[in-house]
Chain length 94, copies 2
């Protein structure tokens, strides 16, 4: 849960996710759209992968990034758990 929020706290990473919402893209394609060094982007990709927000498929030398929509649903339910009216059942989710 921390990982997901931490990942989402960067505007650059949210921009990556917004691009991937439209279509799957390679690291190179993403770097054409976002003005930071490729090495920096690569670091952001790692953060997004660790948070399980994206997954990759490697085809030859290009790596295609895709949005992992199921984790977004997990995030939503986590937010409901954090803020919803129901009493907090387990604190592990914090």
């Amino acid at each position: 849960m921390s990982d997901v929020f931490q990942a989402l706290s960067s505007p650059v990473r949210r921009e990556i996710l917004a691009l991937l919402k439209e279509k799957d893209m390679s690291a190179g394609e993403i770097s054409e759209q976002i003005d930071v060094a490729k090495s920096t982007l690569s670091g952001h990709f790692n953060v997004l992968k660790s948070a399980d927000l994206v997954f990759t498929v490697k085809q030859g030398t290009t790596i295609t990034y895709s949005l992992n929509t199921s984790v977004v649903e997990d995030l939503m339910s986590g937010l409901f758990n954090l803020f919803g009216k129901q009493p907090q059942s387990d604190k592990e989710s914090l």
Copy 2:
């Protein structure tokens, strides 16, 4: 938007919010529940206030913190905007 995610990325701050979900609490009451120094908590309160996730009422020498539920709704709609099926209309929200 960054502020909110950044605020939510800390487990300590999420624990504060979970406590405030149950009921309004003073800084002192919160510090009885969470094992970090009061000065450290005070810093977390500032982050939460900057993100507009909580608001305060001062009565005498005690300050009561309350959850700002409307910002949670803003967060939800921001997430839908980021991940939802509809094409991204404005990039300002990033």
